[in-house]
Symmetry: C2
Subunit: 246 residues, 2 copies
DNA sequence: TCGTGTTGGTGTCAAAATGACACTTATAAT
DNA sequence: ATTATAAGTGTCATTTTGACACCAACACGA
């Protein structure tokens, strides 16, 4: 059986990665050539159309596999974009026509966010040479309506982490330092916290366990590593004892 | 120009109303007849397919007009439902076939929540005699996957109000008592609060103004009326002085 | 090996917020 | 006048917050 893609329905994935200091987004370089000559270029989110018989969540997962080679990471739908003229700018029409589709077809896109620590992709990023991490602040002037999609994803993920701190740990490696945790909160929420107060609160929430391990390989005092404990988190949540926000 | 409905894409609206004591949802009675004989009945959310050239938000607004006659109320997209077999139960297939559509067409539905005080519809509810408010706890065994859609909407709206208390006032009439406010929070979040502590906090947040008006027409002490003040809320939010959660 | 640069890590105190708790008041109906 | 019902109010002990400055550990280069 031949699977048919639905021309009118697509999925876009906003893949967010935290590197210990800053928040990044994975973007594809989109280059438009006329013969040999580069006419223009910009960047776009990862996305694709979905198959007629395919679950939307599964399509999002498939896009992760296609672009970054893994899909066992945090992935969640956040919004659907359906303005009738959302892909109507000249470059976008040119691009769609060049890839053999009809630029007049209205496309509705379901947005998903994926979260992971950037290090998790260090070896996989060679899969596609035109895919790279971009600092979140430099990700502007994107293809289609991807500025809007990215912005909506960021708002969504802020809300999500505020309500459900466990989501934030998807941005951190299994073992992390409290400074990395603080940087993560600071770059997601674009605020800054007092170091001592932040650490006091982080330790008190009760779902991070200090390990007897220290982060080495640096030119200064090694930092103690911590690990997020899902079971403790679940118990605290069930008992209504979750103190959520930093 | 004849407008064409998109068979594969629909919008469902979860219309939630608060009556001062309980949370309610607006449902349509769905009755299936064979000739004169009622074969089965259940209830469904309000929804419809969208036009090919229609913005999704506009389609949701249109559905409100169709079913309740107004659309100047809180309305927000919350999730898109796209499991390939989401409308595959026997009754649902029977219903779709009887209305002249192909039950094998996969339908993707974008979910919207609307919020309003039930009193706002007292005069409009005659529009359709098969539409009624149902207590949120009695709204089960709905048509299609509407149990899931309703449940997702409730979770969404809890999160929304928790993060952005202003949304909660969409459930209250312009002038409300603190007891109504407390009931609203208690029924949305399914918890209970200490009356004195609740009122202390409600007054301290600073975006509700007490009026020199009292709610009459009841058999006991009249309650003072309050009004939500959007401007004060915006100022507090901008200054980061919003204390959000009850 | 000593100094320097850099990040990790720690405690106190005053102010504010929270949570627990019980009685009086105003009204309409009888 | 009595009754039933929901409105409205204050205190105190405990917990949480926010402001604030210095020493410790390591790698590197002089």
């Amino acid at each position: 059986m031949v699977r048919k893609l639905n021309d009118a329905l697509s999925v876009d994935c906003v893949i967010l990665g935290f590197d210990g200091k800053d928040l990044n987004v994975l973007l594809i370089d989109r280059r438009f050539y006329e013969g040999e000559k580069l006419l223009w270029e910009d960047k776009s989110l990862t996305g694709n159309h979905i198959y007629e018989d395919e679950d939307i969540d599964v399509a999002a997962s498939r896009i992760l596999i296609d672009w970054i080679g893994i899909n066992n990471i945090y992935l969640e739908q956040f919004h659907t974009f359906g303005e009738p003229d959302r892909v109507n700018r000249p470059h976008d029409r040119q691009w769609i026509a060049a890839s053999g589709r009809n630029p007049d077809t209205r496309i509705i896109s379901v947005g998903y966010v994926a979260l992971l620590p950037t290090v998790q992709l260090d070896s996989n990023l060679k899969l596609h040479e035109n895919v790279r991490w971009y600092n979140i602040d430099s990700a502007t002037n994107l293809a289609f309506d991807h500025d809007l999609i990215l912005d909506t994803a960021l708002k969504y993920i802020r809300h999500k982490i505020e309500l459900d701190p466990s989501a934030g740990f998807a941005l951190l490696p299994e073992k992390f330092t409290l400074t990395q945790l603080q940087n993560m909160y600071e770059s997601v929420f674009k605020v800054s916290y007092d170091k001592r107060n932040f650490r006091r609160k982080a330790i008190k929430v009760g779902y991070m366990e200090p390990l007897e391990e220290w982060q080495g390989g640096r030119t200064n005092k090694p930092a103690q590593l911590y690990r997020y404990n899902q079971e403790r988190y679940d118990v605290l949540q069930k008992n209504g004892r979750l103190s959520s926000i930093f």
